[in-house]
């Protein structure tokens, strides 16, 4: 970039602040990524990508307009600013009322996320070598018909400027890795993954995350379980006590707490695509969301952990915060933006506006929406009932467009008797209604077992934006849950 990112952002802001424009902000982003994968001993993806661009958001005639470009010349930036203003003015054709924003302070900051080992400084040979070693280890088990591994690194530097006078320079580095072993036998495909399915674990860390995951160490067990599932009993259909591992519970939090608390959804912004929410405004501070053991927060601060939703400022220049969502089972908070906070009479956004890259508009997105750890030991979670079914690692997930009815499938389950695993079960699924499920929560394991999981593929918005979110969870138990309906009937 011939001019600095800050100069470019300020230039774009200057072009955007034309008569009739009451607010504007600009995000200039430089991105870098590396993607590596293997399949059955061969390299799969071996790629890198870099991009630069900017997005300009304006409020003119009481309406929003947004334009993004990667033509980072003076003419390109000016053209994008003019287009953003033209778009905002066209929106006024269907205006009902002027957009109002909750107040926010001016911020000037430079922030770089912690990254002990720069993943881009580690050689591709070393990274691919690790993946190929895991791949080979999985295939040492003759029952494995497909071994796949992957590793990815992303770094975004973003300069945000706004007409409030904010100038925020943030750099975030995320890393992720995982593997899966598939076994085809007779008329069945079974799969086990580590440390999570659909790409593994992802956090706001450098290459140290990959080292912490100890991928190679877990490969033999994962392969063995994938093959053993063929001879396991089918998970029974009926109502049982259910214990979920932390990674599956993280996704349960994502779908049945994280999405319903997005205030833009509640107010109808997503009605045509992602849907709305059962958490209508009358439910704030009145709905018993879960049992007294259920405490959930939305927390973007580094103090919460190195999650995919950790940052210093959101993408409309609001500082990272922790907001209580569920306190001892009571529903007490939404995720908000400056616009939606003002719409429901709150005095400040809790800072959850995020965009995928420079080309897209910030939306309310989950930061780190986490179930706080409980008081129970892991032995108490498993041993507190005489019989339960324990499920591990997500295989499928689905929930209705108001976030009431959900169904999840897991890769593996065990029948638990008096705290002990007595038999392996295959094809486990469970389903329910969100509030009934969380009210059935009967034990949550303590902080010793709490992990901040990363979901790298959360989709929302039109045009769709895929973004990473964080979800802390420890294993938990739920009473009298519908299990096995997906394979029943």
């Amino acid at each position: 970039m011939l001019v600095s990112m800050k100069q470019l952002a300020l230039q774009a802001l200057d072009f955007a602040l034309r008569p009739g424009v009451s607010y504007a902000d600009v995000r200039v982003i430089e991105s870098r990524e590396r993607e590596l994968s293997t399949k059955n001993g061969r390299p799969g993806q071996v790629s890198s990508a870099e991009s630069q661009g900017l997005g300009i958001r304006v409020l003119a005639e009481g309406c929003w307009g947004f334009a993004a470009t990667d033509e980072l010349t003076k003419a390109g930036v000016e053209s994008a600013a003019k287009l953003a203003i033209e778009i905002a003015r066209s929106s006024a054709l269907a205006k009902k009322r002027d957009v109002a924003l909750a107040p926010e302070e001016k911020h000037e900051a430079v922030w770089v996320s912690p990254c002990r080992i720069d993943p881009f400084s580690v050689s591709v040979e070393e990274q691919l070598g690790l993946l190929l070693a895991v791949d080979a280890e999985l295939r040492r088990n003759p029952g494995i018909t497909l071994a796949q591994t992957s590793m990815g690194f992303h770094r975004d530097r973003q300069v945000f400027v706004s007409s409030l006078g904010s100038v925020i320079d943030q750099t975030r580095t995320t890393s992720g890795a995982g593997f899966e072993a598939l076994s085809f036998h007779e008329d069945e495909i079974q799969k086990r993954s580590y440390p999570n399915s659909f790409g593994g674990q992802h956090q706001l860390k450098g290459y140290e995350l990959i080292q912490e995951l100890a991928l190679l160490e877990h490969a033999p067990r994962v392969a063995e379980q994938a093959v053993a599932l063929h001879s396991a009993d089918q998970c029974p259909e009926g109502r049982f006590d259910l214990i979920l591992d932390g990674s599956q519970l993280g996704l349960q939090v994502h779908e049945s707490i994280g999405h319903p608390i997005e205030l833009d959804r509640v107010l109808g912004s997503e009605a045509n695509y992602a849907g709305m929410s059962f958490l209508t405004l009358d439910k704030l501070n009145t709905l018993r969301y879960g049992s007294e053991l259920v405490n959930a927060v939305c927390d973007a601060r580094l103090e919460h952990g190195p999650g995919l939703g950790t940052f210093a400022f959101d993408d409309e220049g609001v500082s990272a915060q922790r907001a209580d969502i569920i306190r001892a089972g009571q529903f007490v908070g939404y995720m908000t933006s400056r616009e939606t906070a003002a719409a429901i009479g709150q005095t400040r956004s809790n800072g959850t506006m995020r965009a995928t890259g420079w080309a897209r508009l910030p939306l309310i997105r989950m930061t780190n929406v986490s179930l706080l750890p409980g008081e129970q030991t892991i032995e108490e979670v498993f041993g507190g009932v005489s019989k339960a079914i324990y499920m591990e690692t997500n295989r499928s997930w689905s929930i209705d467009d108001k976030r009431y009815n959900f169904q999840f499938g897991c890769e593996i389950a065990w029948e638990i008797r008096d705290g002990q695993r007595v038999r392996m079960l295959k094809n486990p699924t469970y389903s329910g209604i969100t509030t009934e499920f969380w009210n059935a929560c009967s034990a949550v394991a303590n902080r010793d077992h709490w992990v901040l999981w990363g979901v790298p593929n959360c989709g929302k918005g039109q045009p769709e934006q895929v973004i990473g979110t964080g979800h802390g969870a420890s294993p938990a138990r739920f009473h009298d849950i519908a299990i096995g309906a997906a394979y029943g009937g």
Partner: protein, 456 residues
Amino acid sequence: MADESSAAPMLSLERCRELFGIAQQAAQSFGVSDVEALVAAHRDALTRFANNTIHQNVAEQAQWLSIRVLLDHRTARATTNRFDAGSIRNAVEQAIALAKSVAPDSDVLPLTEPSAIPRLERFNQATAEATPGDRARAVTEAIRLVEGAGQTAAGIYSTGQTMEAILNSRGVAAWHQETLAQFSITSMADDSSGWAKASAVARQDFDPVALARSASEKARLSRSPREVPPGRYTVVLEPAAVLDLVGQMFGDFSATALNDKRSFLTDRLGAKLFGENIHISDDVAHPLQAGVPFDGEGVRRRKLTLVEAGVPREVAYARASAQRAGVQPTGHGFPLPNEIGEAPLNIVIAGGDTSVEQMIASIDRGILVTRLWYIREVDPYEKIMTGMTRDGTFLIESGRVVAGLRNFRFNQSIIELLNNVDALSPSRRASGEETFDMVVPAMKVRDFHFTEVTRF
């Protein structure tokens, strides 16, 4: 005010050749002669509305140059959106460094040789030149209709253009551009909703007000929804519901997926799997289809007979999977290197001659489904999918739609579904939210498996 930037030409083939020339020269300076470039650009705008007002209104333009190099059966890719000579050289250098990190792989083939690839004309000037005002006026009319019915509208109107090109040092130089317009609307009443969507190369090919009317009427008809117990029902799946559900299986019509034993067609290709009335092809040149006539390796897309009279016949082959099988590639490969291989992307399911109205009239007790949502795979080999109905689910009794229904969760095997199709409507281009646009019929299906009911 005209949006001048939307009318400007995107990257021409000549410009792509210039960019490729810079990349090729850079590669040669590093001693590398086998180079491939994918060039892409898009300019899209989307006007989004909710609560009967435009609330998000965006435009974006972007371009990419993605370089792949080949070094003795080793390959890697580097991508940039900066088109100055220095940035292109950096991308080439990155790709070479990555490729040198990889062990040689016999599956990595020499670059594609040039072949004749016919142009497909899919560019509509009026769609490329649509202005924010054009979209806002259409949206305003649609909102007015819904508001007039005492309902609330939410949706999108998007217009845009894309170009893609692939060039390589063996002489491949294939280029394609197209436009796409989409209009989608959800109309909400107090306790019900309806939905309609259309997409086309030319925005004149659909009528936003007619779509608004259809969505509003569905919302009106489904007021005060009843609850009926889950179970097996005869259903009428409208085209969007068919494509979003049946569309989940086409990634398995891939030679690489078969070789990996992750396809539900493993040990089933060539055997009768579906009903005899099921015929499915992949045809990029179909007049109702969109898309690029060549694949990510620069091979011309060939028409495939995926299913003939219920028998899965052909699958897609990229060059590597074709070489393994000793057949010709079909032109469905993804950009290399990748682990997925290939997939058909231009699905055409042959229709029948039964209208949706005739299907409804033939049902004593059943359910009409407008749209499905959040569809995920429960079982990969039986191809059991779960998901929800949404925005217009109706009870059919004695040949008539008699009431709206609370929405269901389904757990349904696609294999079983395609054995239970009793009638098909004529096919049309349809658009959903769970997979890509296809040419599909509505279907009357017996014993569709609903497993739960939600609260609305």
